[in-house]
Every structure is written in structure tokens, then in C-alpha cells.
């Protein structure tokens, strides 16, 4: 009975390989990510900027404290007044600000980027990371 079960398991494991290969290639290799929207920067472009980037994490504090991009500062709308000071301390005019949130359909990074531009008058070098935290996970 054990040998029979094992044999059947191997057959099923093998049967799943071919469609997985085909759909994997179709989805992961040929399905290109959409071009960045206005005001967005891709993870590859942001990484090329190296130390010039100031990463701004627009997610809730709990997520930031669990894990964040190296050197990122926390600046979210929930605690804007308290967090804006440390953000301005970390910022320098030559820095390029890249704001990120969870990725997918989150809007927090766009809201924070807009407030940085409008309320803090930092206009030329503020980007939103396309795909957010998820994009970083994919490329780390």
C-alpha cells in the first residue's frame, strides 16, 4: 500500500511539472511590469542612485519596525506631525526622496509624496517607488 501510494504521488508530482513550467514562463518572464506612472520610479532606477536616495517608509509604524529598507525613515500620515521632524533631519537638498508603501494598490506613498511636495516645499526630487515594498522584496 505504501509503495502504491508513493508511486501515485510521484505520478501526480510529475504531472504538475509541465503546466507549471509553461504558466511560469508565460507569467513571470513574458509578462512585463507596466511602465511607471507619473511621479513613480522603478526599483532598478532607484537603486542606481545609491547613497543619494533617502528612502521614506509610508507604512504604519508596526510594519516599519518589523522590517524596512536599509536607512529608511518613517513618515506616514497617521503620525505626520511627530515624524516630520526626524524626516527633515535625515533629509538634505542633494538627496532624492523615494517614498514607498506596501505595494500593489496602496496609496499611502502617493499621499505622503504629495504632502512632502506641498507642505514641506520639497518639489524636484520626490518619487514614489513603483510596486512599493513588494517590488523591493522581489529584487532584494
Amino acid at each position: 500500500m505504501i509503495a502504491r501510494t508513493f508511486r501515485q504521488l510521484i505520478v501526480l508530482l510529475a504531472l504538475a511539472v509541465a503546466p507549471a513550467l509553461v504558466s511560469g514562463v508565460v507569467q513571470l518572464k513574458w509578462q512585463q511590469p507596466p511602465p511607471p506612472a507619473a511621479g513613480e520610479i522603478t526599483i532598478e532606477e532607484a537603486r542606481k542612485l545609491g547613497d543619494q536616495v533617502l528612502w521614506v517608509d509610508a507604512r504604519p509604524r508596526a510594519k516599519f519596525e518589523r522590517k524596512h529598507l536599509p536607512g529608511a525613515v518613517l513618515l506616514n500620515e497617521d503620525d505626520w506631525v511627530r515624524l516630520v521632524g526626524p524626516f527633515l533631519e535625515a533629509w538634505a537638498p542633494e538627496k532624492t526622496i523615494v517614498v514607498y508603501c506596501d505595494g500593489g494598490s496602496c496609496d499611502a506613498s502617493h499621499h505622503v509624496a504629495r504632502r512632502i511636495k506641498e507642505e514641506l516645499q520639497i518639489e524636484n526630487t520626490v518619487w514614489v517607488l513603483q510596486g512599493g515594498w513588494d517590488a523591493w522584496l522581489r529584487h532584494k
Binding site: 500500500m1 502504491r4 501510494t5 508513493f6 508511486r7 501515485q8 504521488l9 510521484i10 505520478v11 501526480l12 508530482l13 504531472l15 504538475a16 511539472v17 503546466p19 507549471a20 513550467l21 504558466s23 511560469g24 507569467q27 513571470l28 509578462q31 508596526a62 510594519k63 518589523r66 505595494g103 500593489g104 513588494d134 522584496l137 522581489r138 532584494k140
Partner: protein, 148 residues
């Protein structure tokens, strides 16, 4: 006996449907499922992608095998194994305080805040049903062999 057979058939069909549905929605968005796997922080990205590409197909193939009553023992072991691994991953994520989307049923389960006790209870129930079906299938196979 007849009642047991009917309930066994219904449970077999229900389990197969759950896995075929869960596999299909993940196949349709493998990139998203790879990210869901990555959120468990158990595997490097390459492994998460391989898991995301392969496991949903195994769910579908094993689910179909259950429905058409071919390779049933193997299918039940595969589905039980996947459920057990997922139980372990859920427990580990809960213990580490991770805020994850289980990704179990694709896009629509993603925006729901993770309810670990509910997910664990669901998986445990699924595992018990799979165990029951496996025992029934072993009994049936043994009876067939004895009759020959």
C-alpha cells in the same frame, strides 16, 4: 455503509473543489502569490517564485485526480502534505507576529486582516477530512484486494 459512502463521496468532491478553486486563482496571478509566499519570510525570493509557480498546479492536478477517482491515495497524500505544510507556515507566521495575507484563495482573500485562529481551524478541519478520506480509500483498496 451506504451512508458512509455517500458522505465520503461528498467530502471527496468538496475537498477537490476547494483545491481546484484555490489552485486556479493562484495560477492566474502567480506573481502575486509569490509575494504572498515571500511575506511568510521563510524562503528566499527564488524559492518563493518556484513554490508559487508549482504548488497551485499540484493543487489542481491532485484535485482533478480526486474527482475522476484516479491516483486517489497519491492525491490525498499530496493535498494533506500541502495542507500540513501550510499549517506549519501559518503557525510560524503567527508566532513571529507577521502580518500576512495567507494568499490561500487569491485576490479576494488578500485585503482581509489575517485571522490566524480561523485560518488554523479551517486548515485543521481540511486536514482531518483528508485523513478520513485517506482511511476510507485504504479500506476500499484493502477490501478490493481481499475479494480478488
Amino acid at each position: 455503509m451506504a451512508a458512509t459512502q455517500v458522505s465520503s463521496s461528498l467530502l471527496r468532491f468538496a475537498v477537490a473543489t476547494v483545491f481546484i478553486y484555490a489552485g486556479t486563482v493562484k495560477i492566474l496571478d502567480a506573481q502575486r502569490f509569490a509575494l504572498d509566499v515571500q511575506h511568510y519570510e521563510l524562503t528566499p525570493w527564488t524559492v518563493s517564485v518556484l513554490v508559487a509557480v508549482y504548488l497551485p498546479w499540484l493543487e489542481v492536478v491532485a484535485g482533478i485526480a480526486l474527482i475522476i477517482r484516479r491516483q486517489q491515495l497519491g492525491a490525498l497524500v499530496a493535498l494533506g502534505g500541502m495542507t500540513a505544510i501550510f499549517l506549519g507556515a501559518l503557525l510560524s507566521a503567527w508566532a513571529r507576529g507577521l502580518d500576512i495575507s495567507c494568499g490561500c484563495f487569491g485576490r479576494e482573500s488578500r485585503n482581509i486582516q489575517t485571522n490566524f485562529p480561523l485560518l488554523l481551524a479551517q486548515d485543521l478541519a481540511l486536514l482531518l477530512v483528508i485523513g478520513f478520506l485517506f482511511a476510507m480509500e485504504v479500506r476500499r483498496a484493502n477490501a478490493e484486494r481481499a475479494a480478488m
